[in-house]
């Protein structure tokens, strides 16, 4: 149960500004999808919130600025799943999930029985029990992704940042991963920010979208407001039609053949 607030957040690499003066307030239990073309600053924004890149401005959880926290304290508030996490092939799924308890283990300490219990609980909750003793290298992409999400959940952080959580998955596993996040968010009121490429999925699963281009916000709001054919054509240089399902209001982005007018 935590709000995540960005106030005038700027991320730059040398002279290049990746994210410029970003501001938003993500309510407790809300899921915000960050969309935009490659290089728009989606990952940089998430990495800044995870404390992985330096940023100016303030990012705070429940009003406490992350910059003022120790690394461990920050990690107990914000969990982060990288776009393509480095996964040691010869580590068991259980040990991998247990790494999520790192913020709670003292510098010279070792995981307590409580830490192990949390890891076991997360694994069981994600129905990964049968994989717990298996090596990460022996799993399929979809299984691994669930284990990676399990690791982030074992962190027990109220804010979960997902960088392209479904980019390496087939359509079935994409849906399963996103359903999983939805389920967990509803059960535990986790605040979720995810960078996503699939616009239809982003619109379907998240509460709200933020469209970035060149590091600045182009549009934000409901999927129906943000995902318009004109705007997408302008930002992504793509030719699409946008349909709205008359029954449930789902916004469907369909790519069309041909080059868009530039």
């Amino acid at each position: 149960m935590s709000t995540l607030e960005f106030c005038d957040v700027t991320v730059s690499y040398g002279r290049r500004v990746a994210v410029g003066a970003f501001a938003d307030r993500i309510e407790s239990g809300e899921w915000v999808g960050v969309i935009g073309p490659n290089g728009a600053g989606k990952s940089s924004l998430l990495r800044a919130a995870a404390g992985l890149v330096a940023s100016s401005g303030t990012i705070s959880v429940d009003g406490s600025p992350l910059a003022a926290m120790s690394d461990r304290e920050r990690a107990s508030r914000v969990a982060y799943v990288a776009q393509s996490p480095l996964i040691p092939d010869d580590m068991t799924a259980f040990d991998y999930v247990l790494l999520g308890r790192t913020p709670y283990v003292g510098y010279f300490g070792t995981e307590s029985s409580h830490d192990r219990a949390v890891a076991v609980d997360v694994i069981d909750r994600l129905r990964l029990g049968e994989f717990a003793g298996r090596m990460m290298g022996s799993m399929s992409g979809g299984e691994r992704q669930r284990v990676v999400i399990a690791r982030a959940l074992a962190q027990e952080a109220p804010v979960l940042l997902l960088d392209e959580p479904t980019s390496a998955l087939d359509i079935g596993h994409q849906q399963q991963a996103l359903e999983l996040v939805t389920e967990l968010r509803e059960q535990q009121a986790i605040t979720v920010v995810s960078a996503m490429h699939d616009l239809t999925l982003a619109g379907t699963y998240t509460d709200r979208l933020v469209l970035l281009d060149g590091g600045t916000v182009v549009a934000r709001g409901d999927a129906a407001d943000v995902l318009t054919a004109d705007r997408l054509g302008e930002v992504f240089h793509v030719c699409v039609t946008v349909d709205v399902d008359p029954d449930d209001g789902t916004v469907i982005v369909v790519p069309r053949r041909g080059f868009p007018a530039r």
Binding site: Y13, R47, A50, G51, L52, V53, A54, S70, D71, R72, E73, R74, A75, S76, V78, A79, Y80, A82, P85, L86, I87, P88, D90, M91, T92, F94, D95, Y96, L98, L99, G100, T102, P103, V105, F108, G109, T110, R116, A119, V120, I123, D124, R127, L128, G129, E130, A132, G133, G142, E143, R146, Q155, Q176, E179, L180
Partner: protein, 368 residues
């Protein structure tokens, strides 16, 4: 989600298998300790001169408190065992254990399997230090209380690694994740090692009279080891090993990458620095008394990974035990092969270790 079978294995059955003191870990530590003790006894028993080999284990037992056995070893023979062989065996254990643990730690912290403890310049620096002492110092420092060669080797080794670290750090970005990234440091190491080696070659080329001496030093030796050598490096090795043991869990976190480690609350740059300093101090200390014993620090950790798994919690203590045992055993043919002359230990480690490692690689690959 894939269909969940009705009888899903509960995760807690796995937990008991992965605990720090699980039965599997205990079994490995016991095996390692037994092999180490057997190696020490063998190392003390075998040698070109001295008492009959089979009597020595009894003599060792006889010298334990509360045990009295008539081993038939004379006092003069016991002196050979205790004053000549034993310091050499213990020194081999310290050097082998230290190099393996340092190698494993370096490999972990840089996530690079080709890394050995000499990577950041500890070996090249020690070589230069020894060369400097042997060429310029010997005559001046005859009256010094400590041998200038190990001292100079140690100091220059530590300085070289410090330079590597500073050079590497100055190139890395400001972000905590990429800061002091492993790759930059490794590359800085390559450059600094090349430079230091060039300086050493230049000095050697102008002092041809010590080439043989320096070359022998570089090949590594344990002969002539005394208890004072052991005492000299013991504090460094102890501190270094304790620090590295305490960072076993951090090394496991490093396996998922700098970014993920930072996101998990690990101060990547600082933790890496602590581990590198500990591994370097220990390496520089053992190199300064034993010379450059190749192969141990690179291959022992890999051999252990192949048979006992890659987790650092088990790898670090096992590297200590098996590295120590390996070097003691490798030293035995070293002193017997061309007796009374010595075969350099660095030659033996590679000669025995390389085929053994290839064998492990082949069999384990086939198994899975």
């Amino acid at each position: 989600m894939a269909a969940v079978p009705a009888d899903v294995t509960p995760a807690d059955t796995v937990v008991t298998r992965t605990g720090a003191w699980s039965s599997a870990n205990r079994r490995w530590y016991t095996v390692g300790a037994i092999i180490l003790i057997v190696s020490i006894v063998l190392g003390a028993s075998i040698g070109p001169a001295g008492p009959t080999s089979w009597r020595v284990p009894f003599a060792l037992l006889d010298h334990l408190p509360w045990i009295s056995i008539d081993s038939g070893v004379t006092d003069a023979e016991w002196n050979i065992v205790w004053r000549i062989r034993m310091p050499r065996v213990i020194l081999a254990a310290l050097v082998g254990g230290m190099l393996s643990v340092a190698g494993a730690s370096y490999q972990g912290v840089f996530r690079n399997p080709l890394v050995d403890p000499y990577l950041l310049g500890a070996a090249a620096g020690a070589g230069l230090g020894a060369t400097l002492a042997l060429t310029t110092g010997r005559t001046v420092t005859m009256s010094w209380p400590v041998d200038p060669v190990p001292t100079s080797a140690f100091v220059v080794a530590v300085l070289t690694v410090a330079v590597t670290y500073l050079v590497g750090a100055s190139f890395s970005g400001s972000s905590p994740g990429s800061g002091r990234s492993g790759v930059t440091l490794v590359l800085a190491g390559v450059a600094v090692v090349a430079f230091v080696t060039a300086v050493q070659t230049f000095i050697l080329q102008r002092n041809q009279d010590v080439v043989r001496e320096v070359f022998q030093w570089i090949l590594g030796r344990l002969s002539g080891a005394t208890w004072s050598d052991v005492v000299l490096i013991l504090p460094y090795v102890t501190i270094s090993c304790i620090v590295l043991m305490l960072h076993r869990r951090h090394l496991d976190v490093f396996r998922v990458g700098d970014d993920e480690a930072a996101a998990l609350g690990v101060s990547v740059g600082r933790t890496r620095l602590v581990i590198v300093i500990a591994a370097t101090l220990g390496t520089a200390a053992v190199v300064s008394v034993s010379g450059l014993i190749a192969f141990v620090g690179l291959v022992i950790p890999h051999a252990i990974r192949l048979v006992a798994g890659a987790g650092y919690r088990r790898l670090i203590p096992l590297s200590m035990l098996f590295g120590a045992a390996f070097l003691i055993l490798a030293d035995i043919p070293g002193r017997m092969l061309s007796s009374p002359a010595e075969t350099p230990i660095g030659v033996v480690t590679a000669f025995l270790g390389a085929p053994f490692f290839i064998y492990l690689l082949r069999t384990r690959r086939l198994v899975g």
